[in-house]
């Protein structure tokens, strides 16, 4: 019974945190940008009309509201299905994971929309002058070597731990997990290289802001890498110690921590009052 109560609390917290709290913060941020940096004074910030921005914001808000309702329905379904559950075995452990993936869809839509906006900004950019910093961007300028080493240790630690509890036999389950980790980390490495030496997506972005964004991206990738390894270790440990009933709780916590470091980290670190919006002002025409 206590597992059910804990699950309800955690699942409710997952619904509120990822589909209500962070979306509300993001909407507030969009509204603040529109209010303080209007298209009349900052035309470069709006490659599309303001109506389209507002429509996208409303869509994002509506999608999150639907997800909240789905989450509450799922809680009801869980309560109905789990009434005969004895409480010491795995039960609906994939629920927070599947729902968590659905919860991230609006954030992915916002990211994709952001990429589209940047593409339009680059297309509309008629400026002939280009600015760059003369400081090299190196990985350890943005993340501490200790965090990177910890992430690597955790990654190999997970592989060794899983192999150890399976008597060093490469089962298909372990191979799938290792391949998944390799793919995730290959993606992180490619993204990190892109952040450090790649082209900037926003053609007007100030050098300082780019540096700040690079710092946040690299730090969050290292944090997510650690979390993924810890999550895999926890999942293998609950299987090994036959604590499968805890898996549903771990899965819910995992998604909330990922959201805390990913979305929450972005909201905490990339602040509007520290961002240089002057770069989006119209260029003065000299006659």
């Amino acid at each position: 019974m206590s597992i059910h109560i804990l699950f309800y609390a955690l699942f409710l917290s997952q619904i509120i945190l990822i589909s209500y709290y962070y979306p509300t913060q993001i909407i507030k941020r969009i509204e603040s940008v529109i209010k303080n940096f209007p298209p009349e004074n900052y035309p470069k910030l709006y490659p599309e009309s303001i109506e389209k921005v507002i429509a996208a914001k409303v869509r994002y808000q509506f999608l999150n509201q639907i997800i909240i309702v789905i989450g509450l329905i799922l809680m009801g379904v869980y309560a109905f299905m789990s009434k005969d559950y004895d409480g010491d075995k795995k039960f609906a452990e994939g629920l927070p994971l599947m729902f968590g993936m659905v919860q991230f869809i609006p954030f992915m839509m916002i990211e994709i929309s952001g990429f589209r906006q940047f593409k339009l900004m680059r297309k509309a950019n008629k400026s002939t002058s280009r600015t760059a910093g003369l400081a090299p961007r190196k990985l350890f300028d943005y993340v501490s070597p200790i965090s990177v080493i910890t992430a690597i240790i955790l990654l190999f630690g997970y592989v060794l731990f899983d192999l150890y509890i399976h008597d060093f036999i490469f089962t298909s389950d372990i191979i799938i997990k290792i391949i998944t980790l390799c793919l995730v980390h290959a993606l992180f490495i490619a993204l990190a290289i892109g952040q450090l030496t790649g082209k900037r997506l926003d053609p007007h972005q100030a050098v300082k802001d780019r540096s700040q964004q690079t710092e946040f991206s690299l730090q969050s990738m290292v944090a997510v890498s650690m979390l993924v390894s810890l999550f895999f270790i926890a999942n293998s440990a609950v299987d090994f110690f036959q604590l499968g009933y805890l898996e549903i709780l771990i899965n819910s916590i995992y998604f909330q921590v990922i959201a805390f470091f990913g979305i929450g980290g972005m909201l905490r670190n990339i602040r509007l009052d520290n961002t240089n919006f002057d770069v989006y002002k119209a260029e003065k025409v000299t006659v």
Partner: protein
Amino acid sequence: MEITIDIEDPMPLFTQLVEQIKSAIVNRKIKPGDSLPSIRQLANDLELNSKTVAKAYKLLERDLVIQSKGYRGTFVHPEAIINSKMDLNADVLAQLEQAISACKTAGVTDSEIRIAFSNAMNSKNN
């Protein structure tokens, strides 16, 4: 420290880069020993072809303004401040003017000087 180039400027892009980096050194915006961005990073930031940045870096390395240290990257040369102030083009022009003046004093005609200069440039030793 930031540099800005203008792609519509009649001055070649690599020359703008060379001048801006030298100016940053002379104005103490970057110091001898400071590391510089990689060719790829600077080319992507300025949306230039990496060959343009490589050419600018090669010229700066020739003038002992920067020095490449292999995989460790590119750094501002210890003598960069003095070397940045030196204008190699002006130096070449002064030396050529001196040589031409000496030739003319000796009675050599303009066309003979041109032919001799062309031969000297095409000589296998140059």
